[in-house]
């Protein structure tokens, strides 16, 4: 089909306008490549997952790492299955190791057997698309892009990012928080929480020792920033001419009302993120032992509505803190102060 082009005005087009010729080339290539592909056949069939699930081994992950080979078809070619030696491909092996560390975290700390607590195989696809600057959970598996190489490196580099995506699957099989407005921001925040806890657990870090950053290993050194998000200080992770400025609020007074990004789910998650950080820091020690336990009990609580707002969620965390540690416990006090500090009024 012949195409007529003209240059329309832009509101925000910083990467395309100011990007290097390499970046633009990358975007063009992706487009050209996608054009020549048949439609995406979608995620692996549930029956295929059930077949894999027959190999259930509580306490041991069942990992399958696929390679999309720069295409956008899932799941791609199987490159490494459970127990096989390193493949030599950095993304394949990082995904394998990171999914293993995430499984180990949930098993050792919460005795949870995988995403669904029924031993669901952990399926990951790497090298998805060309210069693809994203990672996601599609309802059945995790998918990781290589990044454009200029702003973003491959998304398997950060353990907390891999664990964040796996946690999206876990939330779907538990709280099922609706991906919109405040429940959506809670969905994002809980994924960040268990993402960083997985990393802290793997490194043996206390709350005070941890950096509380999400995606610190993803940004190239050309970007003026330390990570994609900061749970300790939302809104301060980056401030860069190409990437823009970290837009996360840290307090309810700065809550962002928007129709974009499903109601700002990746923005307003900064508020509950900071509440978790404050609670964990006040309690000290390993964050997964107290604050993490309370958050885990909260997302597994059938009483938590799937459309919970921040205040409802906060109330359920307080209930679980009281059940786990006692009504007059320092844990209840720390949580109360953490939620209040970020402006979430407890009902």
């Amino acid at each position: 089909m012949p195409i007529h082009t003209f240059i329309p005005p832009y509101i925000l087009d910083r990467i395309i306008d100011r990007g290097s010729p390499y970046q633009r080339g990358c975007a063009q290539q992706t487009l050209h490549h996608v054009q020549s592909l048949p439609p995406n056949p979608g995620p692996p069939r549930p029956t295929a997952i059930a077949e894999l699930g027959e190999l259930r081994t509580p306490g041991h992950a069942q990992r399958r790492i696929h390679d999309a080979e720069q295409q956008m078809q899932l799941p791609g070619n199987l490159r490494r299955r459970e127990g096989q030696p390193a493949s030599g491909d950095a993304a394949v092996d990082e995904a394998y190791d990171a999914l293993g560390a995430t499984y180990t975290f949930f098993w050792q700390v919460f005795q949870r057997d995988s995403i669904d607590d029924l031993g669901m195989p952990l399926i990951g696809t790497v090298h998805y698309g060309q210069g693809y600057e994203n990672a996601f959970w599609n309802g059945e598996q995790m998918v990781f892009g290589d990044g454009d190489g200029e702003l973003f490196q491959r998304f398997t580099r950060s353990l907390d990012v891999v664990a964040h995506e796996l946690t999206h699957g876990l939330i779907e099989s538990e709280a099922g928080l609706v991906y919109f407005n405040q429940p959506g921001a809670l969905n994002e925040s809980v994924s960040d929480v268990f993402g960083v806890l997985t990393k802290q657990h793997a490194l043996g870090q206390t709350a005070a020792e941890a950096d509380w950053l999400v995606g610190a290993e993803l940004l190239t050194d050309k970007v003026n920033g330390v990570a994609l998000r900061s749970m300790a200080n939302p809104g301060t992770a980056y401030d860069d001419p190409l990437l823009g400025r970290d837009p996360q609020p840290a307090h309810m007074r700065d809550f962002i009302e928007t129709r974009d990004d499903n109601g700002g789910v990746h923005l307003n998650s900064g508020i509950p993120n900071r509440a978790f950080y404050l609670a964990a820091m006040a309690l000290g020690g390993y964050a997964w032992e107290q604050a993490g336990r309370i958050w885990y009990a909260t997302i597994c609580d059938p009483q938590l509505p799937n459309d919970a707002d921040f205040a409802t969620f906060a109330g359920v965390t307080l209930n679980h803190a009281a059940q786990l540690f006692g009504r007059q416990s320092p844990q209840v006090q720390a949580l109360y102060e953490a939620w209040t500090s970020v402006g979430v009024a407890l009902r």
């Binding site: 195409i3 007529h4 003209f6 509101i11 087009d13 600057e133 995506e165 990437l243 974009d260």
Partner: protein, 109 residues
Amino acid sequence: MKMPALGPETSLRVSRQGGFVAAPSLARTRQIEFADCDAEQRRGLCSVVERCLPVASKKVGAGDQRFFRVELHYRREDTDAELILQIAEDRAPQELMQLWQNGAIPGDS
């Protein structure tokens, strides 16, 4: 869903949203005013939006999946009206991708 009648005061906005990163600059919002387009270009833009209608969904973006948001702002019986479509990245028509990425409008000549 059917396409509304679109006059010269119509504007079309296309952005890419969602995803793990969600940095402000990644949306790369493209806004096109029908007033700046000739009749053929307007037809081309309408054909892109029509292509999006069958694949649009309210529920997009879960689990950091990216999606496109297409907004038509137009006048209907002397009042402001809008049509908003959200399309999952892996269902986005090629014409929409090209419009967003390059400002390319499919033509019929």
